[in-house]
Amino acid sequence: MEDKIWNCIVKRLNGTETADSKIILDLWLAESELNQKKYKEAKSIWELSPKIQPEEPSTPFHQFATQLVPKPEPSSKKISLFWKYGIAATITALFLMTGLYFYKNNHQSKQEIDWIVKRADFGQMIKINLPDSSTVWLNSGSEISFASTFSSQPSRLVKLIGEAYFEVKHDQKHPFIVKSNTLTTTVYGTSFSIKAYQNESITSIAVNSGKVGVLGADQKNKDLAIMLLPNDQLIYNDINKSFAKSNIANGDVNSWTKGVLLFEQAPIEEVVQTLARKYNVKIDATQISGSGCRLTARFNSQPIQVVLKALKLSLQIRSTQVGQTIYLKGGNCM
């Protein structure tokens, strides 16, 4: 109902009022003084907004303007000068060769491989297309990097910090390799999810489709290659260096890319970290750490209030907000 009223308000303010919207709005205004006040406030917002100052350019003008004056090429100038002076043949040749050598080196250093870094901040989730047309969904507080020469290398190498869901384009000749924490994951054309946040001791890999090979990167597990099939989930614990394999429902591998929050016997400390990243809020859980509380719940794109309410109802964890931080207390789990 409110949406409709605001639509009518905007129509009137914009001067595109229809006969119908006029009737609806006039009726609503006649209902109360509060409504009339609301309309007046809306009108002042509408009229004030064009007066907002444009934001500063990211590159200040004086810096930008340096591009407006063309600069001469120094290296080519150097070579032409040598030609001009017409020194004895051998010496000229020597200088020329030295000059070309330096020019070539200079030119080559500009062709260093650039690493492209993509990052999703707290509260964000982004979708990236890789040069081989594979897609990657990055969860909050995560980062991937890959070389600018990605497509021309023998392996398609990606480094991951955090959580990502990959849909890899099939290419039998060029394995797709993800390096995360201490594990290396290799595929040829599959879809899978990796969770490897730096400050967490657990790395997990779950497969949606295809075959995934996982190799431990540290000395102890170097030869241990584990094959994962669809609906397999591998959980690696960095503290006791153990692997555990379990099942995961097919839709759950990438449900987070659709805004779903899924917890299955998740320790409360992990829940708190996930909430802080997803909602970009500060949470103080010092009073409940070590409570042994675990959460099993699923939330479909819900605001944080709903999750906090669930914590209260199921685990007796109360939350209070002081300033910009949420404090958690209680927790009846032992």
């Binding site: 409110e2 949406d3 605001w6 639509n7 308000i9 905007v10 129509k11 303010l13 914009n14 595109t16 609301k38 406030e41 809306a42 917002i45 509408w46 004030l48 907004s49 064009p50 007066k51 907002i52 100052q53 444009p54 934001e55 500063e56 350019p57 990211s58 590159t59 003008f61 930008f64 303007a65 591009q67 407006l68 509260g123 964000q124 989730m125 982004i126 979708k127 297309n129 047309s133 659709k258 805004g259 909602y279 970009n280 809020v281 794109s301 605001p303 944080i304 209030q305 709903v306 906090l308 309410k309 939350s319 209070t320 907000q321 910009q324 949420i326």
Partner: protein, 186 residues
């Protein structure tokens, strides 16, 4: 004072540096935001807008409707870039989810009167989700019509109006609440 460059008479053929600087300072940021909408990459957006201004300078372009020209050029450059990269236009569902976040945390403002109002308004607008924010800016700040916005963002005029009314609703709600919302009350 905001200078409307669409109406500024172009006296000489050569591009005036002072005028150009004014145009750059006035439009650079909003054009960048607009480019990000298409390419979803700030660095690429910056470079597209930068190249446009450089080109304008060297070609001494003085279109009659500068604002329209700038936006259309950015749009074309973005679409070319996307075609080159063979990228699909990215989905923005998660951007809309951030509305909840925006509702929750806002810096408390002590002074709402006069210039305080403007500053507050400016800040609140940045909390809008990307597409909605773009629509609001393009209509209220840039003065584009629904049809023009629809064309520039590749959405329908109905959707433009819808975004505008939802933006107004959001801004009004923020203005009346003043302080932060209590996150623990579900």
């Amino acid at each position: 004072m905001k200078v409307d460059h669409d109406l500024a008479p172009i006296e000489s053929k050569s591009f005036d540096l002072k005028q150009f600087e004014l145009l750059y300072n006035n439009k650079n940021h909003s054009l960048q935001k607009y480019a990000v909408y298409y390419v979803n990459d700030l660095e690429v957006a910056k470079s597209i807008v930068n190249d446009l201004f450089v080109q304008m300078w060297f070609k001494e372009l003085t279109p009659l409707n500068i604002k329209s020209y700038l936006y259309r050029s950015v749009k074309n450059a973005c679409l070319n870039y996307l075609e080159q990269q063979q990228k699909n236009i990215l989905f923005y569902v998660e951007q809309d989810e951030l509305t909840e976040l925006a509702d929750l945390i806002i810096e408390p403002q002590k002074d709402h009167l006069e210039t305080g109002h403007l500053k507050f308004l400016q800040q609140v607008i940045t909390l809008l989700p990307q597409k909605r924010q773009l629509v609001f800016r393009m209509h209220r700040l840039e003065g584009f019509s629904y049809a023009e916005i629809a064309d520039l963002l590749q959405i329908s005029p109905r959707t433009v109006e819808d975004h505008l009314s939802k933006a107004m609703q959001f801004i009004h709600a923020q203005a009346t609440h003043f302080l932060y919302t209590n996150l623990t009350e579900a």
